[in-house]
Amino acid sequence: MSDVQYKVAKTVREAASLMLAAKGKGRILAGGTDLLVQMKSGMVAPGVIIDVKKIPEMTTITDTKGSFRIGAATPAAVIGEHKKLKKTWPGVVEAINLIGSTQVQGRASAGGNLCNASPAADSVPALVAAGAVVTIQGPKTRRQVPVEKFAAGPGKTTLKPGEIVVSMTLPARPRGAGDAYLRLIPRTEMDIAVVGCGVSLVMKGDTCVSARVGLGAVAPTVLLVEAAGKALTGSKLDDAALDAAANACSAACRPIDDKRGTIRYRTKIAGVLLRRATAIARDRANGISHQAH
């Protein structure tokens, strides 16, 4: 007989209450592609597993006047099949669709990716660049937090006891907007990002009127690199602006040496990816489409 319990929550409130009642030993089960791996390795030993996949608010995508609300437990494959979301936010969708293999995509969710709080999470730099806002439900209250403020450190979030992530909301997109996410991995698939860079910008003619840059795998949490966004804003995305933004990304890095990359390498790649992601985002803003591969 095993110690762990498995419960299916029918509403967000119920899920939050179950989390609170578990007194720190509860774990939310969306796709399970992080949780089961951690349980198997012994890293995590939950007392209660709370399955949230039967909660409509957490597994649906809704579009309100151009602003998309993505349920936190929506499988990445479902997100990838949402034509309008993909057209509006190609960078966010391609980032989410880079999490793991096709099999993992069938289950993994952006909410899970966010809550796992790996500094190298693929979805997060694009969500940061997009200015996504996270909706959190506690036992008594609901609150919103910008996605770049959600993680506290590697594997740590700012969730309080009994709180769960319900959805991520993307703001309505003005005309002339484009976003892109690029990551560097040693192979072509199946690797954790050595560096991930999301860029979202709005062009008016050939001038960039706003830009946000998210950088992953180079610090304890995914970074919103404000200096890079500033360097691009107001520019024509010329070499000088790109250099400045790339340097801002490299400067913002506080990476580590590990089995996936060195400090030196990550710092350099941060700048390389910024340039390349910006080029794709700009093309998309100008109506030129890019396929991931």
Binding site: M1, S2, I49, D51, A77, T102, Q103
Partner: protein, 160 residues
């Protein structure tokens, strides 16, 4: 917690089983239900040898808890042939020597079928990226990709 009673449909057959809350679907398929066609190569979703579909969606069964199969339609390699008629992909894999040791083959067949059901005209690149989650150490993937391309072409021919 006492064992959980799960009611599901596996390869079209209504199936019930008892499982621990933390047992994976892969473990239940192999140990409780005698469906050993899905293999454990890594237990962590990195190799695809345990691939099944749940409600038509390709997944790694080692990353699914057995209780999650409640009310779902699960398809494994054992359901791919119809009676003694092999699926075109199964026939083609044999014909084109798209397997050597065969341990990864069930996973590749399940994953390839899922692809062709969505897209009967994939490019070589699309096939390779779709199947990137299925590791093979024997073939270098070449004959597997050829087999999938050929079956796709045959499917398009039949559809005309």
């Amino acid at each position: 917690m006492a064992k959980i009673h799960v009611t599901t449909i596996i390869n079209g057959a209504p199936t019930e089983f008892l499982c621990e809350p933390n047992q994976t679907l892969l473990d239940v398929l192999r140990d409780n239900l005698g469906l050993t066609g899905s293999k454990e190569g890594c237990g962590s979703g990195d190799c695809g040898a345990c691939s099944v579909t749940i409600d038509g969606r390709l997944v790694c069964s080692c990353l699914v808890l057995a209780p999650e199969a409640e009310g779902a339609k699960v398809e494994t390699i054992e359901g791919m042939a119809k009676g003694d008629k092999l699926h075109p992909l199964q026939k083609k894999f044999i014909e084109m020597a798209a397997l050597q040791c065969g341990i990864c083959t069930p996973g590749f067949l399940v994953a390839s079928r899922a692809l062709l059901e969505r897209n009967n005209n994939p490019t070589e690149t699309e096939i390779r990226f779709w199947l990137a989650g299925n590791l093979c150490r024997c073939t270098g993937y070449d004959k597997i990709i050829h087999a999938v391309l050929d079956v796709a072409a045959e499917m398009r021919e039949t559809a005309k």
